[in-house]
Symmetry: D2
Subunit: 438 residues, 4 copies
């Protein structure tokens, strides 16, 4: 096994909360049982190929800053080096999953044919490393947003040929994900939206997008891919309006086009906040509508207006997220993919470790805190009691469909005024969470 | 006809663009034909009872400022005065519609029975004034957000009695709207959301909301009300999350609960921007999904984070809105309701006239500009041409469902690369709009 | 001592982190020594009269919800009751300070004279209760934003008489604060700004505001008030633009008008975020410019666009705030005033206790965490090392003013390229904070 | 004169409002007199070298899209081609100014020495073209944000050598601007701020920034450069906090370090809105504090959270901007620099013409509208009257410093209540602006 790119970092181990070692887990103990399952099975962490092995720290105002020793040689050399870097990194970190775009792992060639050939070569290498390590894809996806051919969209391009190209690319990407034993496949509509409504036929574009997803579903079944398809909501970037704005927008779209049985959501924390929602909200909405599939674990800066993709370290966020995920029964095919990059100024390979360790520990603590609160019924008992009026009497009659406006009008005209409201006690509940963060 | 509250203001007349009279229309000429219909029928302006006759200018930091001579005497006296003020104002302004909440027109009594009696008395007076003037409701609605009994929601309250109370109130409000010949009925879920997820059962609340709307639909049909039901999207205010966040969230909800055949949207400009969307976007989305019902015409300040409900004066907004509305075939039951109030410092009754004249002229110009651009095909020809690749060849095959991923893969592997993309020409199109604003 | 309004709540005691009692402190132990001072002297908590005893839970969409048993009887009866409620509350909570606006404590009369008389009566009662309890004002202030007379501003009104009225009111408010032994006096320019630039002479208004503050300084010295004057930055509310937008805007204004020697800042967490800054940023900016005076401790919801004034419970915020405050040498006249209210749905008097206990515990934890990190040099050692190039060589020469562009040009033309940059290590530092939150 | 890069575009001419030619001015007539000066002298348009000749349309999610035929050959070839493209473009557009960063015009070499040599060669070519055309720099600046060496800042870097490098670079850039007859020099602190406060010594960094600017001032005087120095406010991008957040923050900084006599502001529309201010506000603030120097003319999308740098087409913005600029006496050294780029999808060279024509026409209309409103006193008469109470009586006494809190207290205790407030009439004034847009 290669050990070339992070020579100074040993295997990251669990050392417990009192360890002063920044390169150890203080909370993530993969074998620790929580609610009857080891932590590792609850959290199903995944490393994002693009951020960790392809992203050199460029931003709209400046060029790359990071030391990425694997970026050397020809494009195909770099692709091979990245495979080695990825597996070394995941192995040392103790993470069993990775996520990738087709173009992260292998470079474009001069034609689609050559591009596919490049991809096939690297996939072979990935498969071999997977065999050796047990590390495998949480999900795969296709990059349909970076190349200029996608500038007007992929499935929603005004250029029909671009739809065809995207179709060919996604067909291949699903096949490759299938080959690698990926547990899911994600659609993130990076350019599926508009820059300006002035030149856009929204209705026609939405129809095309639905057509595209139906073809993908058909293809998935045809090739026998059993993984889950996900759609990933995101607003505002890179187009001015993205059709997959938030969980509700995706929900509306999937229902309209009869796709809601086939796709679930991949919810990202920073995409949630860019859309004006708490991460917790998007997870709860997804769960309430049976659409919670997988999670892109990161953190935004709510005072900045773009996807900062910072590593998740906020214990409130991880606690509430794990509360939602545990309540929804946990992940099946999904997991926590670190769709996050170190800041542009974190230029050493070791910073990748600091960042992932911080995110993993933050989610491990979130899991333990959420589980403890669930065990004590801190929120759930309060909520159950709060809606108790719906369990009997007029509430139960309403839920059972036994009454309508006429019956309720008579009921209330007789009664005059509802039973008094009880305090919402939000401050007490907020305090309770703080008491569990320890 | 009473003429007590705006004695210094005469009938507002169309005087044309060169008039220097601030109390005249420069652009709104109700009888001027545009695309084969008089302006008045295109625009269907409505005055909002609550803002114009009930809102004294209080804000979270200060008390009422406005001179509202009709606010004197007992609550029922005030209610009668407001009727007079409303009809005098609408008549002088030349507006044929008004919109109201039940509690705008008549005060609550000591019991629901008495409250209903109060309402009946004022409805009788409204009906009489309507008879005399031809002015009638564009839509009615119920105030389910102001009284403390609704503090946890109405249909989504944790208190089942509050659902029952809301049911009784809405039953009555729909009946009253029917009596007054209202052309629609609006649901704005002022407290249908949550302040904190910590004490909230979102799934149960959404089920209750759907139950409530189904009951309303049933009641509407039972009493023979032919008006359109609308749901009005709004995010963030007054609860932290409103279930009707934006058009897409409403669309998702209505589909999930099989209500999309019965309710359309009442789209508000300022609600759109609070949700992170352009007004134009929300209208276009609604139209693309056959949900465009009516419009709350106002303007937000995009640098402020709440519903400022300013009068619509921005010609870009009114032009693009009228473009959407004309493209969707115009209003049938809906119209342009000025859900807007003068600023707290505009304390004279005449300010109400300035504000409405400005809004009406702005929409009249928007209508004329949009119509001229449509006649010249300024945007539509460009858009048609932009998607021309979808009208034949592979594009037509995709739209017709003749091809799938396999066929498209073969097509593109052969072709290698899509036809080149054309420029989006957004800057040229933006310039074109400016040329029509004259 | 009266014990009428919170009969079910006993004295709130420190019971330690393992206490399950929601009405006990788990972390705030007033006598615990931290960096050589008892917690109580570090934190100097203050209760806000307006939020806790005057605010009934009304919002722009609904009326008051809260049980406030002290709101009964005539306005002067209510004022007396509020005094009793305040002192009972502060005593049971173990808080030594309160903050007030003149109009919170006593109602307006029919003339300024009578208003002042009302105020004098209540001040007498406050003084008596202070004598009995040792509780005293952290700071006083005047309400120059609620009454319609201030609708165009107070010192910045276009109406010169309103400036005069505000002058009379502030003169009295400073005198009263002096009488009560207040440790400071705050200027929050609630209406000092503009709703629209179209009708505003900004330059003239700013001159008037400076004139007003100079008069206040002169008056303070004349009457022998030794308390600190503070200006409180806030953007956007209630006017569209507030002249005291943020710490930097206040800093610019105070310098321009030669007031920076006389006023420091009262920094509020939620005002910081509304202005687009982290709370931590505003504190650091204030400290860096020797302007850190006092703190309004609360929390905003960064997804909502207004001052939600929630209680501070976020441990990241309290930790970083206490880090700034400790680094700046701690409070002298200032303290932590809870400019926060319970949510509209928290309607029981006991909710006030939950809320304040949560805020006090959160700041006590923040203090302990910050102090522990300071003791270990977690951030400070890293920062010191990061700037080490400035301590010798060319860095020291630059700081000492020994070199200019010419010398530096020669130096760099010779050297060719700077020494390499080191990683910023932000992720590692973020992880470190999490390790101290336990 | 070369005519290679825009062969299909002829000289852009003024054809008047009825011209249907998209490649003609409808409003910008350089020789038309407005308020006694030709339009060209009022507006002083400038083309931004970086956006128009260097920016290929890459964004954080995708690579370059634009056809830029001048980008071919070696880096120095490209630099020479860009000079030709720039002068051809400015000439055909009829614009007399351009703005540039040092690295826009010439590439970095292997050492600072070689970089300077590259720059000198191109400056020679620029000087020659300037001689031939009369086109010259409105201002120059240095790129201190793109290269990784500046990742921690330039003047505010924790690495003292980077300060030295920046000093050498700015010394050269000012010299070059001087050589080319530039009318000003801009400091935009692209990385002068922090990504995280955790590793930052803000006070020390601010001192360094001040030191740097003092050195620049000294250098400017030493070499005899008479151009104006400007500082350009911008918040949030690319660092999380930029020290030059907004006009007020710059004002505070310049005053504190005694630099306010030497630097004025370069105000950018999109930077204003990112900081939470209207463009009009920042201009008015700058003018009120005698800091209005020059303008970066562009437009943001207020629903997007970053600097979209769109071309300015909004007539409200251009009208209010020109109102501020005319009121402040117009530009002396400054002008309107189009710091704007075409959208990523506008890929043809002709799109650059559409974009600039739109911006120039929008500002020409803004100028004509503002001038007409000034001639009619539409806003100014209203404002003068609104503050009339300050011209005599107590208002005049306050302004003259004749009274203090004691006198004003006596005055108001006698009077009891201020004179009534008048309506602010904002809606009427907003309508008036619409009437002038025609």
């Amino acid at each position: 096994m290669s050990d070339d790119y992070f020579p100074d970092v040993e295997q990251i181990l669990y050392e417990g909360p009192d360890s002063g070692n920044p390169l150890a887990f203080k909370h993530y103990n993969p074998i620790e049982q929580v609610e009857g399952k080891p932590m590792a099975e609850h959290l199903r962490f995944s490393v994002a190929y693009w951020h960790s092995f392809c992203n050199g720290g460029a931003d709209p105002f400046g060029s790359e800053t990071r030391q990425m020793p694997w970026i050397s040689g020809s494009p195909m050399d770099q692709a091979r080096n990245k495979v080695n870097a990825c597996f070394e990194f995941c192995r040392k970190l103790g993470v069993s999953f990775y996520c990738f775009h087709d173009r992260d792992v292998a470079p474009e060639g001069d034609s689609l044919k050559e591009t596919n050939k490049n991809l096939d070569k690297i996939v072979e290498m990935l498969a071999e490393r997977q065999e050796q390590t047990g590390i495998r894809p949480l999900w795969g996806t296709a990059c349909l947003f970076s190349h200029p051919r996608f500038m007007h969209g992929a499935a929603t391009s005004c250029n029909a040929d671009v739809f065809a190209y995207a179709a060919a690319q996604v067909a291949k990407a699903i096949e490759v994900t299938h080959t690698l034993g990926g547990q899911g496949y994600v659609f993130w509509g990076g350019r599926e939206g508009y820059k300006s409504l002035l030149n856009t036929d929204m209705a026609r574009e939405l129809d095309h997008l639905a057509k595209f997803l139906h073809m993908a579903v058909e293809h998935k079944h045809k090739i026998g891919f059993k993984g889950q398809l996900y759609i990933e909501p995101k607003p505002k970037e890179p187009t001015k309006h993205q059709y997959d704005f938030d969980a509700a927008a995706c929900h509306a779209f999937l229902q309209k086009y009869d796709l809601d049985g086939e796709l679930k959501l991949n919810v990202e924390a920073n995409h949630a906040t860019l859309a004006g929602h708490d991460f917790h909200h998007e997870l709860t909405y997804a769960a309430a509508n049976d659409m919670l599939g997988s999670v892109d674990a990161n953190r935004g800066d709510l005072l900045l207006g773009w996807d900062t993709d910072q590593f998740p370290t906020n214990l409130y966020d991880t606690t509430l997220a794990m509360m939602s995920i545990l309540s929804a029964g946990g992940f099946s095919t999904g997991g926590l993919n670190f769709d996050a990059h170190v800041t542009r100024e974190s230029i050493d390979p070791v910073d990748l470790f600091h960042a992932h360790i911080g995110g993993m520990d933050a989610f491990a603590r979130g899991l333990k805190i959420a589980s403890a609160m669930r065990a004590d019924g801190v929120l759930s008992d309060f909520v159950k009691q709060r809606y108790v009026s719906w369990d009997t009497g007029v509430g139960a009659d309403i839920e059972a469909g036994k009454v309508g406006f006429e019956e309720l009008s008579r009921y209330m005209l007789d009664k005059g005024e509802p039973e008094p409201n009880a305090s919402g006690r939000v401050e007490m509940l907020e305090n309770a969470i703080n008491e569990y963060i320890r």
